[in-house]
């Protein structure tokens, strides 16, 4: 596939007439790989999110343009699936399991403890950009419920105390100075 844009048929809607440099060059190999495989929009979006952390409007517009589909189609597919995010996330993405077993074993209590400690609500990111809290349907570790995942690590049999301890440790690891100040305060 060619990534060149043509002034008459540019269509990105940003009024740039195609003279802007492509800010998404890292995505080129992905677009090339899927160019001849029909039905690959979801896979392209997944790779794009892996590369850029979230799907910005500009990124979705770029994908629409390169795959010769409408931005509405791209946005429609992206918003249908829970995996896709449209805002940047914190350094640590907390995925709190809200499956049945976790619910029965107190995931609400864990959620309250996280919200209390970080002072954010579900879906929000802390002001320091460290943590984002997302509820997810089921992580499939039901026998260790309640469970959460932070980035690639899974934590099980959570209690209020345990979850606060885990978050405090991560906070310290990321920014020791700030954490000490908080304790002294």
């Amino acid at each position: 596939m060619s990534h060149e844009t043509n002034e008459h048929d540019h269509g990105c809607g940003c009024g740039c007439h195609g003279e802007k440099t492509n800010p998404f060059t890292e995505l080129n190999p992905v677009l090339d790989h899927y160019a001849d495989i029909p039905g690959s929009l979801i896979s392209i979006l997944q790779k794009a999110q892996e590369l850029y952390g979230f799907l910005s409007v500009e990124l979705m517009r770029h994908i629409a343009l390169e795959t010769h589909t409408s931005i509405a189609k791209v946005y429609g597919v992206a918003t249908f699936y829970t995996q896709f995010r449209f805002e940047p996330v914190g350094k640590y993405l907390i995925m709190l399991c809200q499956g049945t077993a976790c619910h029965v074993n107190g995931s609400k209590m864990v959620e309250e403890a996280i919200m209390d400690y970080l002072d954010i609500k579900e879906g929000e990111t802390t002001a320091d950009g460290l943590f984002t809290l997302n509820n997810v349907a089921c992580l499939g570790c039901c026998s260790l419920s309640p469970v959460m995942m932070i980035n690639d690590d899974t934590y099980g049999q959570l209690t209020k105390e345990k979850v606060t301890h885990i978050l405090a440790e991560l906070k310290e690891k990321a920014d020791p100075l700030q954490a000490t100040q908080e304790v002294t305060a």
């Binding site: 929009l41 979801i42 029965v104 349907a137 089921c138 499939g140 570790c141």
Partner: protein
């Protein structure tokens, strides 16, 4: 001698990687000749991390709940010192709970290394596929599956042979074999475990199915939330291809079949066949009207057969042991075994595989060990958001598609969540409606708007604002949604509400008419008071109350002002003298 560490997602979450690193460090430190290997999940997740020490004669000693400190002790005292470490060891009977279980789908889980095809081949792997491709016609393959009586294990329980036969008879050269590994039921992880612990069983099952229907291409649609499963499955596909079990001219029979993985992006409705196909094609996963069925017009409008992971994993066993052997297990209408993810308030949670026909009581009390903390059993939830809650009075119900359906629940894909006296059934119904409401694709008005209205009512009831007539209104909405929805999601979404109303109507009435939650779970319906006899006046509750609702002098009995109290429960948590009473 080998050290084998259970490294499914549950084992890893419990610390298997750290334990493995500890073993490797100690072994290197002591210069011992021991290999450290991984295996999948044996099923007793509550005992993770699990470590097997296997000697050169194949004798195995199993250690459970192993910590990094235990690793040193196992090496020094058991491996080197030849001593028994009774507090860490468990008998093989305990770990597989042999008495009542029958392991067909889980036959290799926790026993073989899922990342090595040689391990699978050593337990007769790909023998069934070889037999099917070399010696059997598609008709004979389908007949064997029919004799076995295998039904779809994804939830609906449709006869597998019938689907294969329909796809086979459907005209066209290009056909597809699809595996639904989008295990979306909250509270279920059977398929994840098979993918992580025995991925070749799935590949072999799909290969046999592909031969039967005449498909040369297969796709496995896996949830993106299962990263480890995707890695192990891809590794298994690569190995199978290298050995020539996938690709061109398999077993020199001229038959071609290749497989690829497609990662789902998170949508419960994609468990529905036509929605799954839309998602495979890169579209929004919305179901469409049937017919045409996928067997006629599926993926890219070509004949397509879709089965779930557990269904495929049964197939190689059936061809190695015969359809009759499989049909000998189970009941008249439900043959073979079923895997359940036993979780919730049960002592020994994990994966169990039982022959059909055992009762719920057998599974929860004999295999699962009963209820945690010796509390009273209240209900078991089967079938996830499409299923229902079965009460204590029906514990003798045999596990059989028709018998479970009679209770108002469904067999489902295998989620079995146990609830005790502290679980509020109205809250459970609210929990599931919250799920289906979010997961409704929005195509059918009844499903989209109906579940929203039901959720609003259930929210009100659990917040103490229930009204006379709410129960009847819920029931009416339930039947309307069932009738007015196109796919299984909408048609079954009301089941959790209908079954809880049927068996626990008194709890709904308590909430609405008496403002009481007997399970003490719905916070707005509780009152917090201080027991004057127990209160020592330490002031902890007063200090921690966020709204200053508590008054009292030091060393005097404290009191909660009910007009100010927001029922956050902080006082209850901080009181060291158990003097805060919740009612």
């Amino acid at each position: 001698m080998r050290i084998v560490i259970g490294s499914g997602s549950c084992g890893i979450a419990a610390g298997a990687h750290k334990v493995q690193a500890a073993f490797e460090t100690i072994i290197a430190e002591k210069g011992l000749e021991l290999s450290v290997e991984q295996t999948g999940c044996i099923g007793t997740c509550y005992l993770e991390p699990i470590v097997d020490v296997v000697d050169d004669n194949g004798n195995k000693v199993t250690f459970v709940n192993v910590t990094t400190e235990d690793a040193r002790s196992i090496i020094e005292n058991h491996v080197v010192g030849k001593k028994e470490l009774l507090d860490l060891m468990i008998s093989q009977d305990d770990i597989t709970m042999i008495g009542k279980q029958k392991r067909i789908v889980l036959r290799n889980s926790g026993l073989i290394n899922p990342e090595r095809i040689e391990d699978y081949l050593a337990v007769d792997g790909y023998v069934a596929a070889r037999k099917c491709l070399l010696e059997m016609t598609p008709e004979e393959i389908i007949e064997t599956v029919k004799v076995a009586g295998l039904k779809g294990r994804g939830g609906a329980g449709f006869p597998t042979w019938f689907k294969w036969d329909a796809a086979k008879k459907s005209p066209g050269k290009t056909k597809y074999m699809v595996c639904n590994a989008d295990e979306g039921d909250p509270g279920a992880f059977m398929d994840r475990s098979v993918l992580e612990s025995d991925p070749h069983a799935l590949i072999e099952g799909m290969l046999i199915g592909a031969k039967a229907i005449g498909a040369n291409e297969g796709v496995i649609y896996v949830r993106a939330e299962y990263p480890l499963a995707i890695v192990r499955l891809q590794n298994a596909i690569d190995q199978a291809r290298e050995k020539g079990y996938l690709g061109k001219d398999i077993f020199s029979t001229g038959f071609d079949f290749d497989l690829r993985i497609k990662a789902g992006a998170g949508a419960f409705v994609c468990g529905e066949e036509t929605a799954l196909i839309a998602s495979l094609e890169g579209e929004r996963g919305m179901p469409r009207l049937k017919p045409p069925f996928p067997a006629q017009k599926g993926y890219w409008n070509k004949p397509t057969n879709i089965n779930n992971v557990e269904t495929f994993a049964n197939v190689p066993w059936i061809f190695r042991n015969g359809g009759e052997a499989y049909a000998a297990l189970g009941t008249k209408e439900s043959k073979g075994t079923k895997v359940f993810a036993l979780t919730g308030k049960v002592k020994k949670g994990g994966l169990v595989e039982i022959p059909m026909g055992l009762t719920l009581k057998d599974v929860i009390f004999d295999i699962g060990g009963g209820i945690k903390q010796e509390k009273a059993f209240k209900a078991v939830q089967m079938g996830g958001p499409s299923g229902g809650c079965i009460p204590a009075g029906l514990l003798d119900t045999p596990i059989d598609y028709a018998e479970i359906t009679k209770t108002g629940a469904i067999m489902g894909s295998g989620g079995m969540v146990v609830m005790d006296e502290t679980t509020c059934m109205v809250d459970m119904a609210r929990f599931f409606l919250d799920f289906t409401c979010k997961e409704s694709c929005g195509k059918c008005t009844y499903c989209r708007v109906g579940t929203t209205r039901m959720l609003e009512i259930l929210n009100r009831i659990t917040q103490g604002e229930g009204q006379d007539g709410d129960i009847e209104l819920l029931e009416e909405l339930c039947y309307k949604i069932k009738d007015g929805s196109l796919c299984g999601l909408g048609q079954t979404a009301p089941n959790p509400v209908l079954t809880t109303i049927k068996y626990f109507r008194n709890e709904y009435e308590d909430h609405i008419y008496h403002h009481k939650c007997t399970a003490k779970s719905c916070k707005p319906l509780l009152t917090y008071t201080i027991d004057a006899e127990k209160c020592v006046g330490c002031g902890a509750c007063k200090k921690n109350c966020p709204v200053d609702a508590i008054t009292g002098e030091k060393k005097q009995v404290h009191e909660i002002n009910q007009d100010i109290c927001i029922k956050c429960g902080k006082c209850f948590t901080v009181c060291k003298f158990d003097s805060v009473i919740i009612d």
